[in-house]
Symmetry: C2
Subunit: 110 residues, 2 copies
């Protein structure tokens, strides 16, 4: 389920920053940065919402954005930069990241 | 990890069809369709790869595509249509689906 920070799910088009990772052995400091970066992302203008899924050392974090400039602000924030550096050097065995323009979006609850 | 069906990860831009769901109680027939639709998607020209993640009744299936016409072929295939109908009427408590244009993609293994 997406945690929207907008009154209603946004209308496409909007943007997604998709981050997918496998954690390694040395997770020292990981949890604290995970909490801190999530708090940070919520404060950036243009942030719309996020979803996160973790299972057996594998995870996906997708954040949704009104525009690409907002993603750039998020990407270049010093705390996020530091988390990325630690991730590359210590926490992750693998990751991929994508910036995508969401061209259609539908959700249904039954 | 993305299961690429291309010799190397594709260069952006390409397309993603993102499907996210929570399963309900009645899963009769679900597993069989899950296997069948995955076999089907691999046969459609323009299919590039996929990733799937399931945990505690929640799941994400992302398929990657060379173009949007290929996604349309996949969306309109009778087996996929039937799976979507069963999903709406029986298997899912919630789902969302998105079509997105991937504008940048980077992956790293350490």
């Amino acid at each position: 389920m997406i945690n929207w920070y907008t009154p209603a799910p946004p209308q496409a088009p909007f943007f997604a920053s998709i981050f997918n990772y496998y954690l390694g052995e040395d997770l020292e400091g990981y949890e604290a940065y995970d909490v801190q970066t999530l708090e940070l992302v919520k404060q950036i203008p243009g942030f719309l919402g996020y979803e996160s899924m973790k299972h057996e050392g594998r995870g996906t974090f997708i954040s949704y954005w009104a525009n690409k400039d907002a993603i750039k602000v998020w990407a270049q924030h010093p705390i996020h930069q530091k988390a990325k550096e630690l991730g590359r050097n210590k926490w992750y065995r693998y990751y991929h990241s994508m910036i995508a323009e969401v061209q259609s979006f539908h959700s249904h609850s039954f």
